[in-house]
Amino acid sequence: MNSLTYIFTAFEALLSNKMRSALTMLGVIIGVAAVILLVSMAVGAKQYILEKFTGLGTNLIIIQPGKIQTKGGNFPVAGIASTHKLTLSDVRALQRESTYADGVFPMLLGALIVKYHDAHADTTVLGTNEQFTRIINIEPQIGGFISKEQSDAGRNICVLGYNIWKVLFANKNPLGKIVKLGNFYFRVIGVMEKKGQSLGFDMDDLVYIPAKASEKLFNTDSLFGIRVRARSKDAVDDAVKQSIEILKRQHNNNEDFTVITQDSMLSTVDTIMNMMTVILGGIAAISLLVGGIGIMNIMLVSIKERTREIGLRKAVGATHRDILIQFLIESATLSSTGGVIGILIGIAGGFMIQSMISGFHISITLWSVLVAFFFSAFVGIFFGVYPAYKAAQLDPIESLRYE
């Protein structure tokens, strides 16, 4: 018996009981569709998050006050004051001494209401310096950004985010106008282009002022954080080491700050999302397993019903192997046909979800399709082995007498 004949024989047997075959396949269809759908959604979500991060540029080094990760050896010793905060003098030290960095900017944040005549808007004020635009890749659309001179002097000038400009000035030219931030007055020198989400903020809702001016505005010298850009991707590690050295010197040899790179954040996100993908895929695979048990159940029933057929086939010359292969192919056909239908339904479902949630792209990966297909075929063979083995073991004499 050649392999094609085996497959034809299997199809004939399955088609002779269409309803049963369809219901048995349904278990596998649901399992495979779930694997495809969940995995492609998880991979899509991962790409979505990674895109948001890499949008900042991978050379970016993030420095935050406080020690998040303890590597030992920095336990505060009594008598040595620990400042536990980052200040503009740290920023100056980095600018002055760092050779691997080509840009440093501070971030001093506060929430305020910005007013212009009767118009007002809730905003987040970001105190920073002239290097901000170059590092974040954002340009003013009208006027200019904070200059080095304005930054160093801490002048009361501001640059409006795109949305703030629209609310306060209704698209009119704001240059030279005076807005009120808290109890201080600031002169508008520019409006930023539309940027959207970056750095964890909606950039269009910000008002940018010199960091020194924000110290006065918020009456604090404690920065939200510092961002450093390494000269190149290869310089990131050196820039991190150097930044730590410089800041430790600034902080009485205390490492009371945390330095994070894009890469380490990306790899963390990557790890978490990969784990989520595996977990979701695993949960879906359980339903595939249940489908496999359904196949085994039906194959056992089918073999009971077809005992006389098996007896007859053996009487006219079928060997153990012939019967084993015949039933294995039947179960593998059930599961892999279910697998193909499941893949199609999973892909269709994925696109449906994509069309319902804007901005979200599912990602149907070839590997998830292949894994789902081969896993379903494997499930069919695995759960088909026992019934097929039982069928092959049947005694032809007994089977022919079976009522």
Binding site: M1, N2, T5, T9, E12, A13, S16, R308, E309, G311, L312, R313, K314, A315, V316, G317, A318, T319, H320, R321, D322, P396, I397, L400
Partner: protein, 223 residues
């Protein structure tokens, strides 16, 4: 040619041994037409299973066409059943989802014959039993006599030396039964196929060249 030398078949059930066949010595030449008669439980089905290579004797030798098949493996026996023996059963044992041609083709599937040749031979075989006009009917669309003729076509499709028929007329009316018997007679006379027929019916048994009577596992008449 079939030859049995001191064949025993013993079943042990809970340490009690029951002999279904006791010291059977029989010789059947190629082209003979034989009837085996005996009451239920006499051992005639066991004898038939051994002749048909579905079972092996506990003791003794079974020589089929010069080869001692009593020590053959399951796989070798399956091969012999496929090539040298055709079975006809009381219950027909046709597959309901297959039409006549496909039912007749089943032995050819396991003989490794390619599909066009398979169909040609199955059709030829059906014409030989007078079912040339019923080739694509399913068993449920045919009468008992026609179904048994499909079974005979299936038995002869691989051109076996021996046809073993177990009560082939047991489920048929007298007229269909007679037709079936005449087909066997034809096969025996024209194609020189050895026919071994198990029956309760003395009238059918008498049609054979020789009648073997079996009782309590032993041959009591062989003439």
């Amino acid at each position: 040619m079939i030859e049995m030398q001191s064949v025993w078949k013993v079943y042990s059930m809970d340490s009690i041994e029951v002999a279904a066949l006791r010291d059977i010595n029989v010789r059947i030449e190629k082209g003979e037409y034989i009837s085996i008669m005996g009451p239920s439980g006499s051992g005639k089905s066991t004898l038939m299973n051994i002749i048909g290579c579905l079972d092996r004797p506990t003791r003794g030798k079974y020589i089929l066409n010069g080869k001692q098949v009593s020590d053959y493996s399951d796989k070798e026996l399956a091969h012999i059943r496929n090539k040298q023996i055709g079975f006809v059963f009381q219950m027909f044992n046709l597959l309901p989802r297959y039409n006549a041609v496909k039912n007749v083709s089943i032995p050819l599937l396991y003989a490794g014959i390619e599909s066009a040749e398979m169909e040609r031979r199955a059709k030829e075989s059906l014409i030989n039993v007078g079912l040339g006009d019923r080739m694509f009917h399913r068993p449920s669309q045919l009468s008992g006599g026609q179904q048994q003729r499909i079974a005979i076509a299936r038995a002869i499709v691989n051109e076996p030396d021996i046809i073993l028929a177990d009560e082939p007329t047991g489920n048929l009316d007298t007229k269909s039964g007679k037709e079936i018997i005449s087909i066997f007679k034809n096969l025996n006379e024209q194609m020189k196929v050895t026919i071994i027929l198990i029956t309760h019916d003395p009238f059918i048994a008498q049609q054979a060249n020789r009648v073997i009577k079996i009782l309590d596992g032993s041959i009591v008449r062989n003439s």
